[in-house]
């Protein structure tokens, strides 16, 4: 029922907004703005100096040819000048908007001329030629010869008329009037009147004006044609990056979400992943950890895999990068700081990103074949533009804090002592004196969390000439973590170059260098992870003894001091990454071009790990442990494509692509470790006394691909796309090395049909359908082999043991996806909608099956079983208010349903204690355990439901059942942005509903089985004597029955997070002019302002455990690093 409530609420919210819109917002003309275009081709001209005559006030047009000048008197005159063009002069005459067209020096006369050839373009971005046009239409058009045209021309028919605005019926001067398919054209005069001479009575007149919809009017023998032009919705051409090319959103047949730089630039985000979060339909981004630089889980349209990684493929400027989002140290060691790993995407500075595209359906993603089943994320970085120099500085600084309300409510000393007295009474032994200490009351959560600073600075410069353009940037990001001693620093530099060597040959290079340092801490899954076991240290144990040394729990000699555990160890990772490519594009003939790209992605990761001998109990016996590991992850790729693009017979547009691609990757590392250190002082292995291990490893994989795509469009109305890719991967068995991945898609732009033209409310309507096959190859290298591995040495002699049970038939995971979509624009695109329904069937799942251990192996990868994801997603943008006060709302929601369709070998389990299950007919990763009934009033123990209907202890496995579902009913994000006179405000919310979380932390704070653990204040309601009715059992020394994996620890993980609130102010032009800068914006942001949730843990967005980023192990809170609340202030400055 609740879903309906929420959905209804949202609908009401929307309806109210729509009703409130369309308020006219006349604003005083305190500035003048406009567009400058080239007369030759009506392309916007950047870099044009616009000066107010006889003043020092001036402005320069931006990359889209727009300019803005501060308020001036109504009599002033504007001068437009650009090198290579003739200057133009026009009077402002109280206009708010002055658009103008500039002629090149060598073209015609200085007087703006009427168009003398070809048709007038229907493109709305074009400007009526020859005059300064004006949207307020109260202007005299100077020297308009047409107003005094001759009465007749021999053999021609004289047509006259008035052009008015449909909206307010006022006359429009400067409208271009053309006789279709002729070179005859005129412009309306100050009263909107025109006179033109047509050739025949059957001619058609075309009326066009910037910002208004063009209109064609057949003469039909009439001599007076009055027309009213309607305002055109802002249908800007939206270019979408797709695999191996770009497309106009209007003619796209597939499902692609775009996140533009305007959604990334303004907020202080640590990495690309956060930029995607809550902004794209069908894309679920889960912050696995709040640790700075930590990893995320990204799921595009549900989880399609049980054990193979469900991460999408990341392609940065055409290079499919080493997309292991989380570099988790392999092997047996504590590298990796718990299990959160390093987020390799964090090595890209978000400020450099122009756009992020997410390819969701098979039609868009299957061009990446075997790696596309989890979706493809294309990251495109910024490039320089010719004749437009920009230098901008972005800087922000702030603080992160642990949201206080998210802390666990743990017992203080008094409650703890009372609880422990009961505990020892039940245990039947004397209570240790140390547990009764009353003079200390430590809040351990306050001791391990801190308020930490963060800062970010970046400078970028871009520009260039007609031949060479550049974009270059340097950035520094430093975030200290809210857990002691954790942090992330990144220094990044980028250089993107474009060089047009000749008309035919273009060379581009991209180069990104990053150095990142991650200071990691023990987070989870370790004996004393601060957020798991650290917080249950008894409250009557101090942090420090009186002599300043660390204090330890006297009742539990193995317990670490949580603060010492954070401060004393060293666990850093230094990553140096080079990511870049070089491409040459050669136009063989018009429409046919060849492109070759060589790219590489190299990461060098140096890790230093040190557990000092003093102060860390678990490493004391061996005298501390130190280790170093050096990892090199290399990838190179060569791609060659031929592209053919041509329009035939006006209406047939054909775009063909064919290509081959080779990619090879090599991962190697060496590590060494020593124990027995003399002191805590030097954290490097050279100081250790015993060489306790040294090893090295090398792994390689390669993929070879052949691909082709055809796009065909008829009248831009009927669109068809077909893709085909063949991938060969070294990861699969010799019997199954190549896979084929086809897809087809069609779209119908109904709004382009003549009969739809009259439906004024619908400005854009496109129906899409697609089907295709994609694959998943995210499994370990050499998984098809049955292997012997070294390392089992004995008596200092090498030993080799079987390490893996392979399968020579191992092949792809195959996803067949069907997608139906709609693009809709209503009320001049005041409301725009992208909506999709999809069905994804994944078969031949790559499953790491738990084999019976009697085989000598615990698991083996096999192709088995099927999963289905189906769902509905939409992205809705409404421009609620336009004008001076602008309000835009973007909402996206995804309703995904996941189901395991078949598992021939029965249930598959995963996660700690097999808490996650894959079972036919159930959602993947459902929680599996005993069902709690309640606390037995007689015994004080928890009763669990038995299969036979009785209740009691959790003793028989047959009584286990499904106790929760980690998959949300729906999730999404909502962003509201407001602009008013230089002020901008954006509020972004992110939500998830109906997902359960298995809160394993509750095990720690509620198990009641340990001799000296603190717990939740819930224990104050504990069962004390027969007859007590309560939900908290009695303490149970050395008995885990109450703490078994059960519904007791399953919690509702639904949440609504205020992820980002930003308020900014852009200084007015007159200020910035005075300061000789282009623009200046100041802003303040609160990230993660509040989470509305019933979940009791630190954050309902949780990690899985053990670094597993697989589909099965999911929705599991094992002491995750909490997400901080971050306050920042910053500035964007452009010169």
């Amino acid at each position: 029922m609740k879903h309906f409530f929420y959905v209804t609420l949202l609908c009401v919210f929307y309806a109210a907004r729509l009703a409130a819109q369309d308020q006219p917002n006349p604003a005083p003309a305190d500035s003048i703005k406009g567009l400058v275009v080239s007369a030759a081709d009506t392309i916007p001209l950047p870099g044009v100096t616009v000066t107010i005559k006889s003043t020092d006030k001036s402005a320069v047009t931006d990359s889209t040819g727009h300019y803005r000048l501060p308020a001036l008197s109504s009599t002033d005159t504007l001068i437009f000048s650009l090198s290579g063009y003739k200057s133009a002069i026009t009077a402002a005459n109280s206009r708010k908007s002055v658009n103008i067209m500039l002629n090149k020096n060598d073209e015609g006369t200085g007087t703006p001329a009427v168009p003398d050839s070809t048709r007038v373009a229907t493109d709305s971005t074009r400007v009526a030629p020859g005059v300064a046009s004006d949207s307020t239409r109260v202007v005299a058009v100077p020297e308009n010869k047409n107003a005094t045209a001759p009465d007749s021309v021999a053999g021609k028919i004289r047509i006259t008329g008035t052009v008015t605005a449909e909206e307010d019926k006022t006359a429009i001067p400067g409208v271009s009037v053309l006789v279709k398919n002729s070179s005859t054209g005129v412009v309306t005069d100050v009263n909107g009147k025109y006179t033109i001479f047509a050739n025949t009575p059957d001619d058609v007149l075309v009326f066009s004006f910037v910002g208004l919809q063009s209109k064609e009017a057949p003469l039909n023998g009439q001599s007076t044609i009055d027309v009213a032009l309607a305002e055109e919705g802002k249908v800007l051409k939206e270019v979408v990056v797709i695999g191996y090319g770009t497309m106009d959103r209007a003619t796209l047949t597939s499902s692609v979400s775009t996140i533009g730089s305007e959604m990334i630039d303004k907020d202080p985000l640590p990495s690309v992943s956060q930029a995607i979060q809550g902004k794209a339909g069908g894309v679920q981004v889960t912050q696995r950890s709040g640790s700075p630089g930590g990893g995320v889980n990204i799921r595009v349209r549900g989880t399609t895999s049980i054990n193979a990684s469900a991460d999408p493929l990341y392609v940065v400027d055409g290079v499919p990068v080493n997309s292991t989002t989380n570099f988790v140290g392999g092997g047996d060691f504590n590298f990796g700081g718990g299990t959160q790993g390093i987020n390799i995407l964090a090595s890209i500075n978000p400020g450099d990103i122009e756009s992020v595209e997410i390819l969701k359906d098979a039609a868009s993603s299957s061009i990446y074949g075997a790696r596309a089943a989890n979706g493809v994320i294309l990251i495109t970085t910024k490039r320089g533009k010719a004749n437009e120099t920009n230098i901008s500085v972005n800087a922000y600084a702030g603080v992160s804090e642990m949201p206080k309300e998210r802390k666990y409510d743990l017992m203080g000393t008094n409650d703890y002592i009372s609880y422990m007295k009961d505990y020892y009474a039940i245990k039947g032994t004397a209570i240790p004196e140390s547990i009764l200490r009353t003079d200390v009351n430590t809040d351990w959560q306050n001791k391990i969390f801190r308020t930490a600073p963060m800062q970010n600075y970046e400078i970028n410069a871009s520009g260039g000439s007609d031949k060479t353009q550049y974009y270059t940037s340097i950035g520094y990001y430093d975030q200290q973590g809210i857990i002691l001693n954790s942090g992330f620093k990144r220094l990044s530099a980028r250089m993107n170059l474009d060089y047009q060597q000749s008309e035919k040959l273009k060379i581009t290079t991209n180069l990104n260098l990053t150095r990142a340092i991650t200071d990691r801490v023990q987070e989870e899954n370790s004996k004393e992870g601060s957020t798991k076991n650290g917080i249950v240290t008894p409250p009557n144990v101090p942090v420090y003894n009186e002599d300043g040394s660390f204090a330890f729990d006297p009742s539990n000699s193995a317990r670490e001091n949580p603060v010492a555990m954070l401060i004393l160890p060293t666990n850093t990772a230094e990553t140096f990454r080079i990511l870049g490519n070089v491409a040459a594009e050669y136009q063989i003939i018009k429409g046919l071009s060849f492109k070759t790209t060589w790219g590489m992605d190299m990461s060098y990761i140096d890790e230093t790990f040190f557990m000092p001998p003093k102060g860390i109990k678990s490493f004391a016996a061996q005298g501390g442990l130190g280790a170093s590991r050096s990892t090199k992850d290399q990838l190179w790729i060569n791609e060659n494509t031929l592209t053919f693009d041509r329009t035939f017979a006006e209406n047939h547009h054909l775009n063909l692509l064919g290509g081959i691609s080779f990619q090879e990757s090599k991962l190697s590392y060496i590590d060494a470790r020593r124990s027995n250190f003399a002191s805590n002082d030097i954290p490097y292995i050279s100081v250790g006394g015993n060489l306790s291990g040294a090893s090295a490893s090398v792994q390689e994989w390669a993929i070879a691909s052949y691909f082709a795509r055809a796009n065909y469009g008829f009248k831009n109305r009927y669109l068809v796309t077909a893709n085909f890719r063949i991938d060969g991967s070294s990861r699969f068995g010799a019997n199954n090395r190549y896979g084929a991945f086809p897809s087809v898609a069609g779209a119908w732009r109904a709004s382009e049909e003549p009969f739809m033209k009259d439906i004024k409310t619908i400005t854009n309507l496109k129906l899409r359908a697609s089907w295709g096959i994609t694959g998943n190859q995210n499994i370990p290298n050499y998984a098809s082999y049955t292997l012997y591995s070294a390392g089992s040495n004995y008596l200092n002699t090498p030993g080799f043991a079987p390490s893996q049970l392979g399968d020579a038939n191992l092949g792809w995971e195959t996803t067949k996806q069907l997608d139906f979509g709609i693009d809709l624009g209503i009320l001049k695109d005041r409301i725009s909608l992208l909506a999709d329904y999809y069905v994804k069937n994944t078969s031949d799942l790559l499953i790491s099956v738990q084999t019976p251990r009697t085989s000598g192996f615990s698991n083996a990868l096999r192709n088995l079983g099927e999963i289905q994801n189906k769902g509905f997603e939409f992205e809705l943008t409404t421009r609620n208010l336009v004008g001076d006060f602008r309000w835009t709302t973007s909402l996206n929601m995804t309703f995904n349903r996941n189901k395991v369709v078949s598992l021939p070998n029965g249930d598959i389990f995963g996660g700690l204690g097999n808490v996650n299950i894959a079972r036919e007919g159930q959602p993947l990763g459902s929680f599996w355990g005993w069902q709690m009934v309640g606390v037995n009033p007689q015994t004080g123990m928890i009763d669990f439901q038995h299969a036979d209907g009785s209740v009691g202890a959790p003793s028989s496995a047959d009584d286990k059942r499904i106790i929760g579902n980690p998959n949300p009913d729906f999730f999404g994000g909502i962003t509201n942005t407001f602009f008013y006179k230089g002020f901008d405000l954006s509020v972004m919310g992110q939500f998830s509903y109906g997902n359960d979380v298995f809160n394993y932390n509750l095990f720690t704070v509620l198990s009641g089985s340990s001799d000296s653990n603190n717990g939740l204040v819930d224990w104050n309601r504990r069962w004390r004597q027969p007859g007590d009715i309560t939900d908290v059992p009695k303490p149970t020394p050395s008995n885990l029955d109450n703490a078994t994996i059960s519904s007791r620890f399953v919690e509702d993980g639904s949440f609504l997070r205020l992820r980002n609130i930003t308020i900014g102010y852009t200084f007015p032009q007159k200020w910035t002019d005075r300061m000789r800068i282009k623009s200046l914006r100041l802003y303040a942001t609160v990230q993660n302002a509040h989470v509305f949730t019933k979940y009791r843990g630190y954050d309902p967005e949780v990690s899985s455990t053990a670094g597993a980023n697989t589909g099965l192990v999911y929705g599991f809170d094992y002491g995750s690093y909490p997400q901080p609340r971050v306050f920042t202030g910053g500035l964007n400055l452009t010169f």
Binding site: K617, G728, Y788, A801, G806, S1038, T1044
Partner: protein, 455 residues
């Protein structure tokens, strides 16, 4: 330019993709091509021993878990997963039963591969005596692991062939074999292993790898376990003969009991698992008086020793109010060896088996029992005071409990004769002599069933 492009595409197409995509493991070897010569065969043999040093086997679990079951040790946290063994109330999801089960079959699979593959290594690539030796070493290890399995769980799957990579999952879902079949297979293996050499080139090799003495000693123990009092004395006869042979191989009990653990590879050891800085002993790291201590001795253990007993301070000692396990003293680096079979135990095996065969305490049974007590510095009641063989055997077992304290033996020895019901268990239920089949294993294999007491 067009020409170059055409040339480029032609070259790229000619470029063989199969070679490009054929990425063979770099630092690992495919199983099919592993066994090629003597060196690779020996490496596979050594991996068996190394795997047995794992913390989930003799490196900790295979010792400490039965010691918990015997009620000899404490855990610092009183973790239920350990304490449940002492309470005879082991949950089906207990991690330690799972760990030991998993490691057991991992070692068995390594051994099965050696036994199956080494005979196929080409002639000339391996010396004939080495070929035979490797197979017999593998049989010794396989027998040792099955012996621990059958003692811990009763009926267990008996798998004597390596797991082929072509296995379907259904093939792997095996059923359990009767304990008697498992014993028969263990005895078969050990009989073959008694043909092993008596020694190798170095002391470490001789003690650390299977020899004919190790095989004979273990076989004696296996016969003792299989023997059913009152039925036939055949097994006890075998046990006695083999034990006697090993005892008389030329080594004697060491006079300094402590030296068995403080030094390596004493004459006392018949078979001793070797640990070094690469293969450290986890139990040693966590059982000594350092901040890392997790396991402690119980005060009842301390009290079970006569103060005059020379073994007492070696076995258990009091420090800062805590009783510590004394038999794993080398913790930094933790290179503590684990004697798996030593003469002291064989003396007591011989004493018991001989008493059962002859139906009399007099003579050798008493002499060998007394020899152990003599070394401990204890006086022993006269032979004449032992009037009943069953009573004498109980005394031998009690002596064995002290002699082999913290060596993972007492629980199995007491459940073997049922003495555990009266002198060890909290829940006196013979069904709980064995542990539950791990639930994760039953999840993966529905054919296993569960031991009666845990159903």
């Amino acid at each position: 330019m067009t020409k170059y492009i055409a040339l480029f595409i032609a070259t790229a197409t000619l470029f063989s993709c199969d070679d490009f995509l054929d990425k063979k493991p770099v630092d690992q070897i495919a199983a099919e091509v592993y066994f090629t010569d003597e060196g690779s065969s020996e490496s596979a043999v050594l991996a068996m021993y190394r795997t047995a040093t794992n913390a989930y086997y003799y490196g900790q679990a295979m010792i400490i878990t039965p010691e918990f079951a015997a009620g000899h040790v404490n855990n610092v946290y009183n973790y239920p997963e350990f304490v449940n063994f002492e309470q005879n109330n082991i949950r089906i999801d207990n991690p330690w039963t799972t760990n030991i089960w998993t490691l057991s079959y991992t070692i068995i699979n390594i051994a099965n591969n050696v036994i199956e593959q080494v005979p196929n290594v080409p002639e000339g690539s391996i010396a004939p005596e080495k070929r035979a030796q490797f197979v017999r070493e593998a049989k010794f290890i396989r027998a040792l692991v099955y012996f621990n399995l059958v003692r811990s769980w009763g009926d267990v799957p008996l798998i004597l062939k390596p797991t082929p990579s072509t296995s379907s999952l259904a093939d792997l879902q095996v059923s359990r074999n009767a304990a008697s079949e498992v014993y028969a297979a263990i005895i078969d293996d050990l009989k073959d292993a008694t043909n092993l050499p008596a020694s190798y080139s170095t002391l470490e090799q001789t003690k650390g790898r299977a020899t004919q003495w190790a095989a004979k000693g273990l076989l004696a123990k296996v016969y003792l376990y299989r023997g059913t009092p009152g039925n036939s004395t055949a097994d006890f006869t075998e046990a006695a003969n083999l034990a006697h042979e090993v005892i008389n191989k030329g080594d004697t009990l060491v006079s300094d009991y402590a030296s068995i653990w403080r030094t390596k590879n004493t004459p006392e050891s018949v078979y001793e698992l070797q640990f070094d800085v690469q293969a450290t002993n986890t139990l040693a790291t966590v059982s000594n008086p350092t901040a890392s201590a997790l396991f402690f001795a119980k005060d009842t253990v301390y009290k079970s020793f006569d103060d005059a007993d020379l073994r007492k301070p070696v076995t258990v000692y009091l420090k800062d109010g805590k009783y510590y396990i004394g038999k794993y003293p080398n913790y930094n680096p933790a290179v503590q060896n684990v004697p798996i079979l030593r003469l002291g135990e064989l003396y007591l095996i011989y004493a018991e088996a001989q008493a059962r065969i002859t139906g009399s305490v007099a003579g050798e049974p008493y002499t060998y029992y007394k020899a152990i007590r003599d070394r401990a510095g204890l006086t022993t009641a006269d032979e004449i005071t032992f009037t009943s063989v069953p009573d004498f055997i109980k005394e031998v077992q009690r002596e064995k409990r002290r002699e082999l304290m913290f060596e993972g033996e007492a629980w199995y020895d007491y459940t073997r004769t049922g003495l555990a019901l009266t002198e060890m268990m909290i829940v006196a239920d013979p069904g709980r002599f064995v542990w539950p089949i791990p639930q994760v294993e039953r999840d993966a294999n529905p054919n296993l069933g569960q031991n009666q007491a845990y159903q």
